[in-house]
Symmetry: C2
Subunit: 146 residues, 2 copies
Amino acid sequence: MIQNLNKHERESLHEALAKSGQKITPQREIVYTVLLAQRDHPTVDEVYNRALETMPGLSLATVYNCLETFVGCGLVRQVNHERESTRYCPNLAPHAHFRDESTGRVHDIELPKEILDQLTKILPANFETETIEISFQGRTKSSTQN
Amino acid sequence: MIQNLNKHERESLHEALAKSGQKITPQREIVYTVLLAQRDHPTVDEVYNRALETMPGLSLATVYNCLETFVGCGLVRQVNHERESTRYCPNLAPHAHFRDESTGRVHDIELPKEILDQLTKILPANFETETIEISFQGRTKSSTQN
DNA sequence: TTGAGATTTTGAATCATTCTAAACGAGTAA
DNA sequence: TTACTCGTTTAGAATGATTCAAAATCTCAA
Ligand SMILES: [Mn+2]
Ligand SMILES: [Mn+2]
Ligand SMILES: [Zn+2]
Ligand SMILES: [Zn+2]
């Protein structure tokens, strides 16, 4: 089963929501809990099915709503690969994503600040960046499968 | 109107198709011509509408087919941003994309080889990359609008 | 306790993309 | 010429993730 949010986690949820004038609700709390519990970049349906175990009446639309809210207040990032279902990531550190094409799994890749800096430097002077997304596609060699 | 392919362009089209055992057809030639004529990363619908001016009977399904064929033989790249329609890019040089959020336009950003090299170095040893995608979102300041 | 405003819920609508099956066309063998 | 093969194109239906609309619930300040 899924642990509750600890004090610090509930704090950042509350703070992020409050900052954009929104409330903590049981549904939002559970959806956020699901995201933190297993950091495998779940799709909406995966979040929905995991959350159902804790709150059987929850609706899919609400999961869409909650996730959209979280993205809107900067608590969570969307991760898109090709045309697949959007995935969600609560890791707020700057990082890239690696999608293993044989398993479909998405891994976080830590992103050195210096690379981000270099990247913004390749832009023409009048281009102002708000976000940068970096995604790798490939395979992970066996051995100790990550 | 749209120029025909020049000798070199028709050559790379023929070669790329032949390499994967496929033929040049009038439809493929026109779709490829449309892509080269205006390098603004058109969507399928945009390609379709531009191609219709030259070949009125062309079907949308065929445009999907042709573009998929081109992607499959490495002639063209798909460009995805968020959940929007897929766009297509015939620029084979390594490059990133910048999406201007106020206009929706997508610009090519030249990508120094050294940055690509550095990027592959941040991966764990057992991660084998096949593709890297880098995309910026932001705005272009006015003045001489690019 | 009440009313306003936010949130959730259900089910329908959207729409880019994919699928299906029939028509077509170029090339080849008979 | 004719018939056959196989890849391609076409029209239209199906799919499926996401969004929308409207009614039901909830929250919370007054
Ligand atoms: Mn692909
Ligand atoms: Mn967005
Ligand atoms: Zn992530
Ligand atoms: Zn491009």
